[in-house]
Symmetry: C2
Subunit: 205 residues, 2 copies
């Protein structure tokens, strides 16, 4: 076994492959990505990919597990903690952080999570979403549910779609990409809070 952790800078093969795979999965889809494509983009052979990861599914699992686990703890905290305004505020911030920190994985999971049933890690993610939706919906009016759904789904998809429609050299998203993550985070938190927190002079429920 190669002595890990000795050369922190040298890129490990399995990491390159994982990065490439996540990139491809997010852009052209899991079923739309072949092991050959991943291998080509990363500069290896298809056999090498299957040496580092037992299967295409294992590659997907490794790619999105960190993001799913972050989502799980976030949802767990929100579900058990009481729905005080302060707690909501903390949740919103953490949620946006998750979106920004795991963009590709979130993109992949959000857009394809439903069609990837049977894959354990995806099921875990879907279960977490259901728990979140349940916590939101219980004892809320339809408009309240919509407010939550639009806010969270909107924040999620606004980022995802931003990265989706406006490719690297697109002229439109110069404005969007010109902003740092900090600016994006602040704007997102602002808008979501606007919907979900009892803003000055307006009742949230």
């Amino acid at each position: 076994m190669p002595t890990d952790a000795t050369l922190p800078s040298r890129a490990r093969a399995s990491d390159e492959l994982l990065r490439t795979a996540l990139e491809q999965f997010a852009t052209v889809g899991f079923v739309g990505t072949s092991l050959q494509q991943i291998a080509d983009h990363a500069g290896y052979s298809k056999s090498s990919v299957l040496y580092h990861y037992a299967s295409k599914e294992a590659l997907l699992e490794a790619a999105i597990t960190p993001a799913i686990e972050r989502l799980e703890v976030l949802v767990g905290e929100f579900a058990e903690g009481r729905r005080s305004d302060a707690a909501r505020g903390v949740f919103i911030g953490s949620f946006v952080d998750l979106l920004l920190g795991e963009r590709l994985a979130v993109h992949l999971f959000v857009n394809q999570g439903h069609s990837l049933g049977g894959i354990p890690i995806v099921e875990r993610g879907n279960a977490a979403v259901r728990v979140l939706a349940d916590a939101i919906c219980s004892g809320a009016t339809l408009v309240e549910q919509m407010r939550f759904g639009v806010a969270l789904a909107g924040a999620t998809y606004a980022l995802v779609a931003g990265a989706t429609f406006f490719g690297d050299e697109d002229p439109v998203n110069e404005t969007l990409n010109a902003h740092t993550d900090e600016e994006l985070r602040e704007a997102l938190v602002d808008v979501v809070s606007e919907l979900l927190l009892p803003a000055d002079g307006r009742q949230t429920r």
Copy 2:
């Protein structure tokens, strides 16, 4: 040629196939759906599918063209019309109507539009989205852009995800599916207007 329009109730084969295809495309993805699956679900042979539609791509085109064209006229009106509050209100209503009226096609286009480059009708849809984004972004602050993005993407994905995560027999979405389209429309319009229209006492920009 069979005398069309004579028997308005009798389901035509090509229509059944189109319905089945759209359903499959939306649930398991375009690349994830095989012609064989479509044929099986519709009760025909793969050859019959290719008799009615020249190719898998032609099937996709026929499935989402109506929705894309509705989007195009909607975006066109919004882009040229001035951004008065009344015009915004009309746009929001029409937008939500489009979402509700073309759920499956919207689902398909939203979730897979980016990975289906090269297909003309999809490109047209993407172009329309870009025009809309451009109209929204021009001369707006980051927070304003976010408000628009979150509102439209949120409304879109809240519906799509609702249909996505909460399958037919899911216990969670009983609350959601228990509502009629009219109720859903009203709630959606309310929430989106809340974000995009200068509500009483709050300035939109």
